[in-house]
Point group: C2
Chain length 287, copies 2
Amino acid sequence: MILYPHTATSQEGGATMYQQAGSVGQDDHMTTPLYRRVADALRTEITSGGYTPGMDLPSERELQSRYDASRNTIRQALQTLVAEGLVVSSQGRPYQVRKQEIFTLNASRFEDLRYSTAEDGDSYDNDVLASGRIPRQDFQVQLVPAPPEIADRLWIEPGETVTLRYCLRFVDDVPWSTQATYYPRALVERHPRLAEPRDISEGTTRYLADHGVEQVGQRDEWMSRPPTPDEARALQIGPGVSVLVWTRTGHTRDRPVRCTLTTFRGDLNRITYDLGDLSALDGKDQS
Amino acid sequence: MILYPHTATSQEGGATMYQQAGSVGQDDHMTTPLYRRVADALRTEITSGGYTPGMDLPSERELQSRYDASRNTIRQALQTLVAEGLVVSSQGRPYQVRKQEIFTLNASRFEDLRYSTAEDGDSYDNDVLASGRIPRQDFQVQLVPAPPEIADRLWIEPGETVTLRYCLRFVDDVPWSTQATYYPRALVERHPRLAEPRDISEGTTRYLADHGVEQVGQRDEWMSRPPTPDEARALQIGPGVSVLVWTRTGHTRDRPVRCTLTTFRGDLNRITYDLGDLSALDGKDQS
DNA sequence: AAGTGGTCTAGACCACGTA
DNA sequence: ACGTGGTCTAGACCACTTC
């Protein structure tokens, strides 16, 4: 198959290799580039269901002859689809239409003790289990100097030693998010289990509440950006996929007690907040 | 300058053109690709302040000789920096280090009438003006069939005619976000100013509240993804920049009354939510 | 006119996955 | 062994911007 610019044009008389190229997408003024027309054609096939999630795409060499384009041009087209998140690639394996399984997190209820009991345990585990999937967390505890943006939120001096509880979280064994929680030194001294390098079964929020440190409010901040090389490795994503960064600073009535930085892949997560009076939704599906 | 794989290797004895290429980054096993080493070098120069925001980078041809690489390889390196959002490019102009001016939106207060008076006007204008910038909105009103995801949130049938108030928003004349608000037909019939194709000076939330339709709660949903071609055009962003998509469904005590879809560039916006009791912050900077 | 990035070709070698 | 994607080269023409 050959993609013509706007109206069909003849392919004959391709003189030099560059003239021939031009007759399809280069000489003609104001025509959309060939790589984009190829990307559009493939995108249409994917979204219209011609290629379904999990299915392999034709190989680059195959597409090359199918669209009468050079391999670089085909690669540029595929690269576009990867950046759009429609397609994944890995060395040695064909391009694949990506599976879109989306996970929803209700941030306004997350860590809210009214929605859980002491037996329930960790907020994250609960949310994942509730959606019928299997959670896993790899824990790690470190003592680190507070980065400026953390110190600012915790009302401490930059560089002061803080306890960092870091974990890499999995959903059905797929790396899903990283989470780093910073606690001020004074708090950890009074509540030493925060420094234990393993999960706290009833959840840290509950542990602190049971010992008189009640987190009554939190400020959340969200941003989205391309993954750093570190994040790309930890979350096993390519540069075309953006990450959502969630910063939650928890407060008691007097002061901030912790700051949690979570990163997700931006395309496979939905975050919801319920604000005000949503009693209208009570009878409805809470999705 | 030449970037050697791990330790410096001799350049002599480049036989064929491919061998020569190999001696820098191809023959050697387990070395990071040349394009990535070039990208890393440039990224370091940018983040360490060698190239400051707004400054031009050397041209592709210049970098080509500087790093002894082909133009395609240099382009691949620059392409990754564009995808990371560090650099912008446009035809005919040199690559430029991107300016990072960030805008913060407090979503938990947005449209909350407790934080404004009848004279204040539009929520968006307020938020932008409060940060010392100049807002502008291009308005448009259409009657459209309700898309399924909108119908679902508004408790109406897909395809039912709804009123769509669409606007493209600017901050200091830079396209910043698009916003599309859908109102069910029955509501517009009772409150006809919703169908006027211009801004409602006191804000739609206030207009409805003054006529007995009080929005007492809202459910927000967030996601992040690569821009669609339409969004890329409207927001003037490239494919390397992700967009944040905000869906807010407003409810009265009885039912949903509107659904607003907002898209921003993900890298230049911060979204905050204040939850629970944050009286601890009262004396502090509310940034 | 000269310089810059955007598109495209043709062809090479390599690393990885599968069989 | 073979096919797939990943990296790289050398060189061409084009469109846009600036002078």
